[in-house]
């Protein structure tokens, strides 16, 4: 029977963290209760000409206050994300979620972990860093330049290694370069970021035989597994689709790296 619903959240705060990167806390009625790191919410614009929700990953989950934090990139002028960035405390915004499967936390218990994020894949790693109970928490995050948003908050939750494409902070290059430069080792990996980064991490994990969970991204429409827009290629025939396709929104966005082809 029907139980889930689209709900109206209230903006608690809005803050610009870096060029084009914004942080928004939302007061929810129900969405926070069952949220776990790695899940996302669909956010709807208040503009009738923009029909589809924007899937945005959860950066922080505050169960006590029933608040969710999203850190997102404004993708251009007159976009839905630009509208979100213009909202201020007290404004209302429709959301659906939490959606998808999050990072499996139990798997990390007692292990040396890499928590890796790149670009706009950095935010979901924060709540993971806060909740993951593991032996060694090595947070490896990659940015374009010196605008290392959320860095201080990561530092409060583990050992932080940074890479920047322009070399302004930490290792020059990407997150894989940071691992090599610092001679880091792990026996479990959690990662979120652009596809080339995930592809490199998947390859590294398979070569080293390390369990690796990656959070994927694809253009979505419904966000709940019905429309089959956001599929990714699966290694084995998927039981739901009966072909080699998995739904990023419903079966993911977090997948075991060996389950999917990148």
């Amino acid at each position: 029977m029907s139980c889930k619903r689209k709900e109206t959240a209230v903006v608690v705060s809005q803050e610009q963290l870096a060029n084009g990167i914004y942080s928004m806390w939302l007061q929810t009625e129900e969405a926070t209760e069952i949220a776990v790191p790695g899940q996302f919410i669909s956010i709807y614009t208040n503009d009738g000409s923009k029909l589809l929700p924007r899937p945005i990953s959860l950066c922080e989950i505050d169960k006590e206050k029933k608040q969710l934090r999203v850190v997102y990139r404004v993708t251009g002028e007159r976009t839905g994300t630009e509208q979100f960035s213009e909202m201020t405390a007290g404004d209302t915004i429709d959301i659906l979620g939490p959606l998808g499967n999050g990072f499996p936390l139990e798997e990390g218990r007692g292990k040396k972990a890499f928590l890796m994020g790149g670009g706009i894949g950095v935010p979901p790693i924060l709540e993971l860093a806060k909740q993951l109970d593991c032996e060694q928490k090595q947070i490896v995050i990659g940015y374009r330049d010196a605008e290392t948003f959320l860095k201080e908050e990561f530092e409060a939750n583990g050992e932080v290694y940074i890479s920047t494409e322009d070399g302004s902070v930490g290792t020059t290059g990407n997150v894989m370069d940071a691992i090599l430069e610092n001679a880091l080792e792990a026996d479990i990996i959690y990662a979120c970021g652009p596809t080339p980064m995930l592809r490199a991490i998947k390859k590294y994990a398979e070569e080293k035989d390390i369990v690796c969970y990656i959070s994927m991204e694809e253009r979505m429409a419904c966000g709940i597994g019905a429309c089959l827009a956001c599929v990714c290629q699966s290694k084995e025939k998927d039981h739901h689709s009966n072909v080699n396709n998995k739904r990023v929104c419903k079966d993911g966005p977090v997948f075991l790296s060996t389950e999917v082809e990148l």
Binding site: K4, L51, R219, I224, A226, A229, C230, C232
Partner: protein
């Protein structure tokens, strides 16, 4: 007051169903809506064998709507019969199975397979713009549409709804053609073929280059086509195309649709169908309509 409608001999509890492809087989939406409150569930298209569909990106937002080129990904008729029909049968709603194929034989194979299954109606998709073979090839030529209608009717045990494409010069001519072929009903409109370019990447947004445009932006076109089809044929019409509210649905009924499908709006609000049902009921009370049939086609 009575919300029931009779579509080609099948009685629905109310005139609202969902457009194929926007609702899966209902399982994903069961968390958000009471499926018992839908007149019918129209499933995502199913073929004789599993189809992997098109590469991604498969969707893009457009002004007041969206564009898709999913390419009829589906699990094939065997898994569909095993899993999706029993799921839907748990609910007090009619089951309309949307059938797709690449050749006449493909369509007939699925229709024949469904003959002994517990489903209420078949909707034959001869209008998908996103698959190269079959689909649209049957939907843009009146003669071909009539022929495939005749072919599936030979095997069909359930009433056959032919789903029409708006990408034609005369929707009336197409509706007449499938009626002549023996169709029990028609549904329209499928999506309008469109294209979108990413000016920064200097490339098409969809991997398939073209896609089907849907959503509120196309609603007036759909209303016009339902009106034209209603004036051309005697068989019932299921109207669809950009319905996002009860008001949009009522427009369709008033120009001649006997029932309506809600499609893209399901992506904007998964519970929108419930609002459409409630809104039609409220309108009927307000306006003093005793039955849905009383309002069908009264705007001439």
């Amino acid at each position: 007051m009575n919300m029931k409608v009779n579509i080609a001999g099948v009685e629905w509890n109310n005139p609202v169903t969902v457009a194929s492809g926007t609702f899966g087989s209902g399982a994903e939406f069961a968390d958000y809506v009471d499926l018992n409150r839908l007149g019918a569930v129209t499933t995502k298209g199913v073929a004789n064998i599993p189809w992997a569909g098109n590469p991604t990106p498969r969707v893009a937002e457009t002004y007041g709507g969206m564009m898709n080129a999913v390419g009829l990904q589906n699990p094939g008729i065997d898994l569909f019969c095993e899993r999706d029909i029993p799921f839907l049968r748990q609910y007090d709603t009619k089951i309309i199975v949307n059938v797709c194929g690449k050749s006449t034989e493909d369509y007939c194979e699925v229709v024949e397979r469904l003959a002994d299954e517990d489903v209420d109606m078949l909707e034959i998709n001869i209008s998908c713009p996103n698959v190269k073979e079959g689909g649209i090839a049957f939907g843009q030529n009146p003669k071909a549409a009539e022929e495939i209608t005749k072919a599936v009717k030979k095997y069909a045990k359930q009433p056959v709804i032919m789903k029409l494409s708006p990408n034609v010069t005369s929707i009336a001519e197409m509706a007449k053609a499938v009626e002549a072929g023996g169709a029990d009903a028609v549904s329209l409109i499928n999506t309008l073929t469109g294209m979108k370019v990413d000016i920064n990447r200097k490339a098409f947004v969809l991997a398939n280059k073209t896609g089907g445009v849907s959503g509120p932006a196309i609603h007036p076109i759909a209303v016009r086509m339902v009106y034209e089809a209603a004036n051309a044929v005697q068989i019932p019409i299921i109207g669809m195309g950009g319905i996002a509210s009860a008001e949009d649905a009522i427009e369709m009924l008033l120009v001649g649709a006997s029932a309506v499908s809600v499609g893209t709006a399901n992506f904007h609000d998964p519970a929108v169908t419930m609002k459409v049902v409630d809104g039609i009921e409220a309108y009927m009370k307000r306006q003093g309509f005793e039955s849905v049939a009383d309002m069908v086609g009264i705007v001439k």
